[in-house]
Structure formats: structure tokens, C-alpha cells
């Protein structure tokens, strides 16, 4: 690794001030599982690394009036172990479990995962299917934006060079919304997604129709994306396996996958169709189990 300066930030003001003074030649360090790999290979190494592990404002998992708040510095292991997340947004815990291996999950954070802006990130789809919001902190204060506006392109986000991702909030109205996350990689362990998918839905049981179906796809476009044609195909429609398959075909058509050394674009499209139908069936199964549990 090339030489750089290393500072442990005391709090967010300190971190933002340091970065403000360094502009684009500085980088924040969260878990380091992405940044260290980059530093070891990159030619243009930053002058300053600011360790943000001690920032209290970026920690914690709790329910508040806005919804379920997850601090950006929460690790994937903490997400898997959180009883609050497992109860209110279990798909997030399932997604966290698919990230790397134990060692990576113990260091890697949800915030770091989102800020990388890597299209195959496993932390993104379930949050997008639950219409999460993120809070961005700058020297001037905080701004909130929907997660789909946070991602701007491959490895590009809405963050300015001297801004921190502070927290992710799943809105209160979507807590407990039946959701399923699925990832297809070339191996079970330690594999990046060829395609990952999350689907969430409510069911109107009187008419047995989809309500607010949300589908998010990863690794098949410049950013994690919503499959809006597939969603509108489902909205208000009677729930059948056939209609789920149709939604999968819509999603495959509206995605924009690339061919690379992991898979061809055509193979990725086939995976989208299958995974979307399965994720919808999985979310529906969760909804049904809960509905029958209540009825009993």
C-alpha cells in the first residue's frame, strides 16, 4: 500500500471537518473490507484516511417514530444477530448472511456496502423493496433521501466527498411487510451475486390480490433498480403462480444486465425471471403464514 495519513475521528463534526479540509483526496474508513482491497491495488491512493468507527451517531439499531433505524456503521453480523431486524425486516438479516463469510461480515458495514455503489451489493435490494430512506450528513446539516435516489451509477452515489452516510431508515408503514431476498452466485459461500432480487408485498385477503408489490434487482443494471413494470403488472391483480411468472418476465425485460467473466447478459436475464417469481412466491408464503397465524 502507498503511504497515507491516518486519523481516528472523535465524532462526526471532527470527521466532516477533516474531510472538508482535504476534499476529494481523503476517504472515510468504516469496516475497510472494500477500501483496503482498493488501497492495495489502486494507483491513486488518498492522502488521508479518516476512521469513522468511533462515531456514535452512525451506530445502533432501534425503532423510532420514523421507522426502523439502522446506523451506517452497523456490521452485517450485527444485522444477522439483531432480534429487532429479524422480527420487523427479516429479509435484511437473510441478505446480510449472504455477504462474504464470517470474517467479512464481522468488519463490513451496511453503510460501507451502500456507499461502494457496487451494482451487485447484497445490502441494497431488500432496503429498496422496503422503500428505505437514507440520511446524509454534511457540514451544513442532514438531508434525507429515498434509497433509489442515493444510487447514481456504478460506484457512484449521491454523497459529496465530504459527506457521511449516517443511517438507513425503513419507514414505519413497511415494518413487518412480507419480503423475500434471493441471491444467485456461482458458489454458496464467498461469491458475489450474478443476480440478487428482493420482493415485498401486502395482500388484500378479501379479494386475494397484490397490494403495493415492490421488486428490486441487483447486479443487472448500473445500480440496484426497481422493476416498476413488473410491479405495475401485479398491483391489484389476483395472486397466482402464473402472474408471478409474468412479473418475472417483465422484470427480465426491463433490466439492463451486462456480460462479464461471471455470466452472460442472457443468462442473467433468465436468472432474473426465475428469481423474481421465486421471491414473490417466498414473500407471499410469509404473508400467508402470518395471515393464518392471526386467524388461528
Amino acid at each position: 500500500m502507498k503511504a497515507f495519513q491516518f486519523v481516528t475521528a472523535r465524532d462526526s463534526r471532527h470527521a466532516l471537518a477533516l474531510m472538508g479540509a482535504h476534499g476529494s483526496s481523503g476517504r472515510f474508513l468504516a469496516g475497510g473490507t472494500d477500501l483496503l482491497v482498493e488501497l492495495k491495488s489502486a494507483s491513486g491512493v488518498p492522502e488521508l484516511i479518516v476512521d469513522i468507527a468511533g462515531l456514535e451517531e452512525l451506530k445502533g439499531i432501534a425503532v423510532n417514530e420514523r421507522g426502523l433505524r439502522i446506523g451506517a456503521m452497523v456490521t452485517h453480523s450485527e444485522i444477522m444477530a439483531s432480534s429487532i431486524i429479524r422480527e420487523l425486516a427479516p429479509a435484511l438479516a437473510e441478505a446480510a448472511h449472504t455477504i462474504g463469510a464470517v470474517q467479512t461480515r464481522n468488519l463490513g458495514t451496511l453503510g460501507g456496502n451502500l456507499v461502494t455503489g457496487v451494482p451487485s451489493m447484497d445490502g441494497g435490494p431488500a432496503l429498496m423493496a422496503l422503500e428505505a430512506q437514507v440520511t446524509v450528513m454534511g457540514a451544513e446539516g442532514c438531508r434525507h433521501l429515498p434509497i433509489c435516489e442515493f444510487f447514481r451509477g456504478p460506484r457512484k452515489t449521491a454523497l459529496g466527498p465530504a459527506e457521511l452516510l449516517q443511517e438507513i431508515v425503513i419507514p414505519a408503514r413497511n415494518l413487518g411487510k412480507p419480503t423475500k431476498f434471493l441471491k444467485f452466485g456461482l458458489r454458496k459461500g464467498q461469491a458475489l451475486a450474478l443476480v440478487n432480487v428482493a420482493a415485498s408485498l401486502w395482500v388484500n385477503w378479501d379479494e386475494h390480490v397484490f397490494v403495493e408489490p415492490r421488486i428490486a434487482l441487483g447486479a443487472v443494471a448500473p445500480t440496484v433498480m426497481r422493476a416498476k413494470h413488473a410491479e405495475s403488472h401485479l398491483e391489484g391483480r389476483a395472486i397466482t403462480p402464473e402472474v408471478m411468472t409474468e412479473a418475472g418476465d417483465f422484470a427480465a425485460a426491463e433490466a439492463d444486465p451486462i456480460s462479464d467473466f461471471r455470466a452472460s447478459a442472457g443468462y442473467r436475464r433468465d436468472l432474473i425471471a426465475v428469481l423474481v417469481a421465486r421471491a414473490l412466491a417466498g414473500a407471499y408464503a410469509c404473508a400467508k403464514a402470518e395471515h393464518e397465524g392471526k386467524a388461528r
Binding site: M1, A3, Q5, G32, L36, Q103, N106, G189
Partner: protein
């Protein structure tokens, strides 16, 4: 330079290192603890696994400065002069290692697992060591050894006290 103080295998150690030093460099090059291996150096192989504050991590993906004030356990801290750790005993008895390069990492991953979960299923074990690549064994004997160690640590089998070879005593 980054000045740091940390607990390594129960001892307080200090060092002054260039900021770009990783925890793996610190352990191997400054403290001469070469049990953690440099394999891929990018977090894929797990040969550098050490336990930081109770959690297995890849030492190659942590800057030394991030370990300031923390407790690090390496394979050198597992056995005492008199006795191997039950996981090490089980690995020896089951011949669970071949070339041994991945061994320190696998054993520390197993230790962290058994501390959290004294009675793991085969699936739990596979999950716990999925970040430790082994190109010799095919993992089967490792999994058996970890199950055996779990039984020993639960007190279900009588442990044999295997003496640690004393340095210089071997031919």
C-alpha cells in the same frame, strides 16, 4: 506514524508503525507472530484470520491503527506450554490438516464458533469456516474435528492431555 497499544494474546503490546501497516503486517513483521499467514492479502482466503474482541476477522483487511485498544488473539495464544487447545488436539487426532497453511485460520474460526455455539450443526460449521479456503483436505476431516472438539469442550469426551512439543526438543 501511528502509535498504538493493544492486547495481543493477553499481553499489552505497543508499536509505532506507518499508517498503511495492516494488522497482519503488525503481527508478523513487528511482533514476529507468523501464525497468521499472508495468503491472498485481499480477504478471500482467510489464512490471516485472527480473533479481535471475540470476533474472527481477516487481519489483512484491518489497518493496525484500527486495532488500537483492542484484544487480538492469534494461534500463538491458543495453546499453553503444557497443553494444546481441545480444537488443536482434535485436529491432530483426526489428521484434519495436510499442508497446514490454512490451519491457524480454520482453528481460530472454529474457536469463535464454539464460543458462540457449543453445539453446532454441520451446516453451522460449514458456514463458520466458509471464509477459510483449504486446497488440500476437502474440509471433511476438519468438520469432524470441530464436532469432536465441540464434544470435548462440552465435557462429553475425556480429553487427552497432549503435551506441546518443546522448541528445540524435536530432532
Amino acid at each position: 506514524m501511528t502509535n498504538l497499544t493493544l492486547n495481543v494474546n493477553g499481553e499489552i503490546r505497543s508499536a509505532s508503525v506507518p499508517p498503511e501497516t495492516t494488522l497482519l503486517d503488525l503481527l508478523r513483521d513487528y511482533f514476529s507472530l507468523t501464525g497468521a499467514k499472508r495468503g491472498c492479502d485481499v480477504g478471500d482466503c482467510g489464512a490471516c484470520t485472527v480473533i479481535v474482541d471475540g470476533k474472527p476477522v481477516n487481519a489483512c483487511l484491518m489497518l493496525a491503527g484500527q486495532a488500537h485498544g483492542r484484544a487480538v488473539l492469534t494461534i500463538e495464544g491458543l495453546a499453553t506450554r503444557e497443553r494444546l487447545h481441545p480444537i488443536q488436539t482434535a485436529f491432530e487426532e483426526r489428521a484434519a490438516l495436510q499442508c497446514g497453511f490454512c490451519g491457524p485460520g480454520v482453528i481460530l474460526s472454529a474457536k469463535a464458533l464454539l464460543e458462540r455455539n457449543p453445539n453446532p450443526t454441520v451446516r453451522d460449521i460449514r458456514d463458520a469456516i466458509s471464509g477459510n479456503l483449504c486446497r488440500c483436505t476437502g474440509y471433511t476431516k476438519m468438520i469432524e474435528a470441530i464436532q469432536e472438539a465441540a464434544r470435548a469442550l462440552r465435557g462429553e469426551t475425556r480429553e487427552r492431555a497432549v503435551p506441546v512439543p518443546v522448541e528445540g526438543a524435536r530432532p
